[in-house]
């Protein structure tokens, strides 16, 4: 097991060094760097939804709302307190995590009683309410800008931050799902009635999965706010939840590796098509990627990874003699 951890750490450090070197030599320009950061943010957010939907089996369409709550929370605090040093991003991240966690708990308690489609509709409703709140937030807090968008957010997010948070998110999720509480989460997805019959408090674990997954979204939102330095309510509309949902399904439900790969592919495909395609058919990229999706779903309905994981992400248990 020690060996595995070491492997994970080595792979992490190696990929970090490679990307840093590429940046140093100017192969990765600031534009590309921003896209890499965005991909990392999508990884964190999608891991959160994978915990909610892939592992715990709760269909949520409110993910973009939690992403937005995290983004606005961090932007609000950092801008208000005028914390212009990169390190202080930690304050924004913690505040975003706390607030999304509390809101997810309060919202989750009543609506997680619902199942599948009904839960989807309830979380969708929540997402729309939050978007409307963002639209009109300037009535209470002029600093949030309402539907005109929030400007002048200190751009504190850099590659080191994103990399660190992605790394921690992946390790936390991997450790969580390979433990007793994690097995309880998965059992809820498998069969709620059977879980209850063997003593699993399904209501508690559904809420736990929902809260942790939403915290992931909130943290990703905080990084997002300080990456682009501009927030607009439209970026947290429920259609953005569907983007994240697609990443989770595309990568493979309940696969951490799948989510990572699909997030990166997703972001680079969207941006890459922007570069590759000639100006005249630029708008067609919004046709190309749904087509790709349909093809993948036809030929690989279980997603790119299914339930498999990269070797270095696998948790090996010590077998007993």
């Amino acid at each position: 097991m020690k060996n595995r951890n070491l492997q994970t750490i080595i792979i992490a450090i190696l990929s970090y060094i490679i990307i840093q070197l590429l940046m140093l030599f100017g192969i990765i320009n600031p534009y590309l760097q921003q896209i890499i950061c965005y991909a990392g943010i999508m990884i964190i957010s999608a891991l959160g939804l994978n915990l909610i939907y892939g592992f715990t089996g709760q269909f949520s369409l409110g993910h973009a709302a939690f992403f937005g709550i995290g983004a606005y929370t961090s932007a609000f605090i950092i801008k208000l307190a005028n914390l212009n040093i990169t390190f202080y991003l930690i304050i924004g991240i913690i505040a975003a995590a706390l607030l999304t966690g509390v809101i997810a708990f309060i919202v989750g308690l009543p609506i997680l009683r619902l199942r599948s489609d009904y839960l989807g509709i309830a979380t969708l409703g929540f997402g729309i309410i939050i978007k409307v709140l963002f639209d009109n937030a300037d009535a209470v807090f002029p600093i949030m800008g309402g539907s005109r968008g929030m400007l002048g957010i200190p751009p504190l997010t850099n590659f080191i931050w994103v990399f660190l948070v992605v790394l921690i998110s992946v390790i936390v999720l991997r450790n969580l799902i390979n433990s007793a509480p994690g097995r309880a989460l998965i059992s809820v997805r498998e069969d709620e009635i059977a879980s209850e019959a063997v003593g699993i408090n399904t209501a508690k674990y559904k809420t736990l999965g929902f809260v942790i997954g939403s915290i992931y979204a909130g943290i990703a939102g905080a990084l997002y706010a300080h990456l682009y330095a501009f927030l607009h309510p439209d970026n947290f509309y429920f259609l953005k939840s569907i983007d994240v949902l697609l990443i989770v399904v595309l990568g493979g439900m309940a696969s951490i590796s799948g989510t990572i790969v699909a997030s990166v592919l997703w972001v680079f495909l969207l941006e890459g098509l922007r570069i590759v395609l000639p100006e005249a058919i630029l708008d067609w990229r919004l046709v190309i990627y749904p087509l790709l999706l349909i093809l993948i779903m036809i030929f690989r309905p279980e997603g790119i990874f299914g339930k498999r994981e990269f070797k270095f992400l696998k948790y090996r248990e010590q077998k007993q003699k």
């Binding site: 007793a180 309880a184 998965i186 059977a194 209850e196 019959a197 003593g199």
Partner: protein
């Protein structure tokens, strides 16, 4: 009231109505420690409803259920499981895409005493506990002859082994009372024979009280010490297997009214 404490399960005047349908009416049952009792009755008699009431899946319309003297009819299913009543299901309910080992480990979960933070950090407490969980689970799998299947996905097991796994899962938390809902459904005579041996074996090995629903008379008559017969939600007969087999009410419930009527029916057919 020492007597109350002595009984494992005491059900009094238990009723459950679904709208106008009286699924269970004034059901009374007392189980002594280490008893093996059969619950039989024609289709739709309310046997599974009784199980769902005991395990908290349905709330009773009226009546009381006591486990070792403690009222449990107002508890949630997982609380009742933690108090020591576990069950199997008529149509097997495994965590079908998880491994055999995970199926059993999940049932041990509520006895685990480390929290979410320990799991995230994989602390020392986590690893010592995980070793214990694994050990306990493998021990139970060993008893059920499934230890060499531990890493297989549950749904890939043959039917008989799935049934065994479900019983193993119900037993890993060392319950006081085990409810088996038609464990012999869909089995051939050879498998039934093995199943009977298995039930008798766990009955002794785990020092368990068992309540068993079964359609196949052979199973019930073979291993149960006492049999309760249910029809239209009401107990129509109770006693040892021999008494039950000769009770005219039971015969009537299973085979229809009187011989004359049967004869009439046959004549009609001709």
């Amino acid at each position: 009231m020492n007597n109350n404490q002595y009984n494992i399960l005491e059900i009094k005047n238990l009723s459950r109505y679904f709208g106008g349908l009286k699924a269970v009416v004034n059901f009374n049952l007392t189980l002594m420690p280490n008893e093996l009792v059969g619950l039989i009755g024609p289709n739709g008699a309310g046997k599974t409803t009784v199980f769902n009431l005991i395990t908290g899946m349905y709330a009773p319309t009226s009546g009381s259920i006591k486990l070792s003297g403690e009222e449990i009819s107002n508890l949630k299913p997982h609380q009742i499981a933690q108090k020591g009543i576990t069950r199997t299901f008529q149509n097997i309910r495994l965590f079908s895409s998880l491994s055999v080992l995970d199926n059993v480990r999940i049932a041990y979960n509520f006895k685990v005493n480390y929290g979410v933070s320990d799991s995230i950090l994989h602390s020392k407490k986590f690893s010592t506990n995980e070793t214990i969980i694994r050990h306990q689970s493998m021990e139970v799998l060993e008893i059920f002859g499934l230890s060499n299947r531990a890493d297989e996905i549950a749904k890939n097991l043959p039917y008989g082994e799935q049934r065994r796994l479900e019983i193993a899962r119900a037993l890993v938390s060392k319950p006081k009372l085990l409810l088996l809902d038609e464990p012999g459904a869909g089995m051939n005579p050879a498998e039934i024979k093995k199943l009977m041996q298995l039930i008798e074996f766990i009955h002794e090995k785990f020092n368990l009280t068992i309540l068993l629903i079964e359609h196949q008379m052979k199973v019930v008559m073979g291993i149960c010490e006492r049999v309760v017969v249910l029809d239209f939600g009401e107990i129509i007969s109770e006693g040892n297997p021999d008494e039950i087999q000769n009770d005219p009410k039971v015969i009537e419930a299973y085979l229809g009214k009187t011989n004359n009527e049967c004869a009439d029916l046959i004549e009609d057919e001709n």
